[in-house]
Symmetry: C2
Subunit: 319 residues, 2 copies
């Protein structure tokens, strides 16, 4: 694959290039002195990268027209419960990357809390608290595998167990659908629950082993997958949002470590420390057939970055 | 303006970065081995640049959502005679850049033909040939300034005059509108004409001194201009498309050298060798009040690049 390295990220001049080395800066400099600094910073970088992209691949006019038509098609496919630009970002890894940019934090000693992964569109602010040991499975599907899920939430620096932390979880049923998006088959709050850790930082509850599912395979986002020869599958996962007033919260997705789509997740949201090991068990008092243990590491609020992470706000109108 | 230089165009690893240095390559590697080479090349570069952009500006989740909503809004604003993605590209200088990428050619001795500039949406394949010395002004506006336009078309390497070259021109009337987009006020082919050079490579005709105009100031493209504190004006211009079977054609826009928007053209399509010097004249037999001389330099077909430049095809459905 031949690429043209004449231009770097910075849009630097290269006297050997036949293209006008001042052009990109000219476009940037059209911004008025009153442009807000953050707008200027973002648009400067965007213009440089878009121009460098065009030069790097020597984009033809026909290819550019295809791109113009593609961008138009994204908004044309937008409708309620189908945010096409969001989907395209997911396929290109952009939502996962932005998630990492906003949530990657390490302690002074270089210790990392549990990794973050994308929130997704299905979190509910109305999920009820349930007692430790309760089951989130209100509607048991025939092919469901009841699982005892348990673990501890600890301070990553001190190793101290964190009591009164909230482990908020949600998952799709075996048909790949979440309660609110499957109203005929699931009662409200099915497969959702909030659990408060005990004095030893422990939490435990019953849920299902999660089931893999494919994202919608129509529209411009699916066309993009097709061009890249990629499948539409997400690995099975359980969502979690862990919070405590004294700690930086973690929102992530947890995946069975034997899932076949871990390496090729269509939204690139799998991280090594988010894997679950489901083990067969017998004689569980509630009839669970699998057991999974997962520990969460949190970092103190003192490491909280200045920028406000309004995760709830990010959950607008997706899919 | 602080930027993060941790990632170069190549998405190179930087051990000092807190972000996963393998993430971008991971997303690229999701493409299947069967992906067409050109698709792979373009998407690889696009993914790298989009990821580098996000990291460079430390894009927040809220900013990313704004971007997602903005991309959706582009296609939602699309309609007949309004290609919003095309407009956004124009504002960001992308159409002009792609035009340069596809048309910048120099001779072996480093001699440049007349610069190219964007075709725009108003070229017509049906423009009639007119006799040398004819006027394209079928409908004379009250505020029009009749101009005698003349020049020579030459071979940039040999200096030889090129006979039988076609100088195809079109321009808006003083109200900023082109014939087909102003059907109540202009007869067909008003301010359009094709002229064939004589045995000395010369052409001459009568037209108007062109008038500046603003692009539409509604919709997402205009919002982008607003954020950047930019005006919506294009400098006045006359379009030309020069062709000859033995030479590489040139399509460009020619601008009065005293136009106030030359430096800040909203679509960044002005180049130094595309300026016109309008001089007052008296006693012209057809009553012209201005005279302008412009010479066109063409480069032999032997320099033609392999890729087909289907300029007519680029003129799809704009605005």
């Amino acid at each position: 694959m031949a690429t043209n390295d004449a231009y770097g990220t910075s849009g630097a001049k290269d006297n050997n290039s036949k293209y006008d080395a001042d052009f990109t800066q000219h476009v940037i400099d059209l911004m008025s002195p009153e442009t807000k600094p953050r707008h200027r910073e973002i648009l400067t970088s965007l213009i440089k990268h878009m121009h460098d992209f065009c030069r790097e691949v020597n984009l033809t006019q026909d290819e550019w027209i295809i791109g113009v038509n593609y961008v138009n098609s994204i908004g044309q496919a937008y409708k309620k419960n189908r945010n096409e630009a969001w989907r395209v970002c997911d396929i290109l890894g952009i939502e996962s990357l932005v998630d990492e940019i906003n949530h990657k934090i390490v302690s002074d000693e270089g210790l990392s809390p549990t990794s973050s992964a994308i929130l997704g569109p299905f979190w509910s602010p109305e999920t009820p608290f349930r007692d430790l040991g309760a089951s989130v499975v209100q509607d048991m599907p025939k092919d469901g595998q009841l699982t005892l899920f348990h673990g501890t939430i600890k301070d990553v620096e001190t190793g101290k167990a964190i009591s009164d932390a909230v482990f908020d979880m949600w998952q799709a049923s075996t048909n790949g659908k979440y309660d609110v998006f499957d109203p005929e088959n699931q009662t409200r709050h099915n497969l959702r629950g909030k659990f408060r850790t005990d004095e030893n930082g422990k939490f435990w509850f019953y849920c299902l082993k999660p089931t893999e599912y494919a994202i919608d395979t129509s529209g411009p986002s699916a066309d993009l997958l097709g061009i890249m020869g990629r499948h539409p599958n997400r690995p099975a996962h359980i969502h979690m949002m862990v919070t405590h007033p004294d700690y930086i919260g973690v929102t992530a997705q947890l995946y069975p470590n034997d899932d076949r789509w871990l390496e090729t997740d269509t939204v690139s949201a799998v991280k090594d420390d988010l894997l679950l090991d489901f083990k067969p068990i017998q004689n569980d008092p509630k009839g669970a057939v699998l057991d999974v243990e997962y520990h969460v590491r949190l970092l103190s609020n003192k490491y909280k970055p200045d920028s406000t992470m309004l995760m709830g706000n990010a959950n607008q109108n997706k899919f």
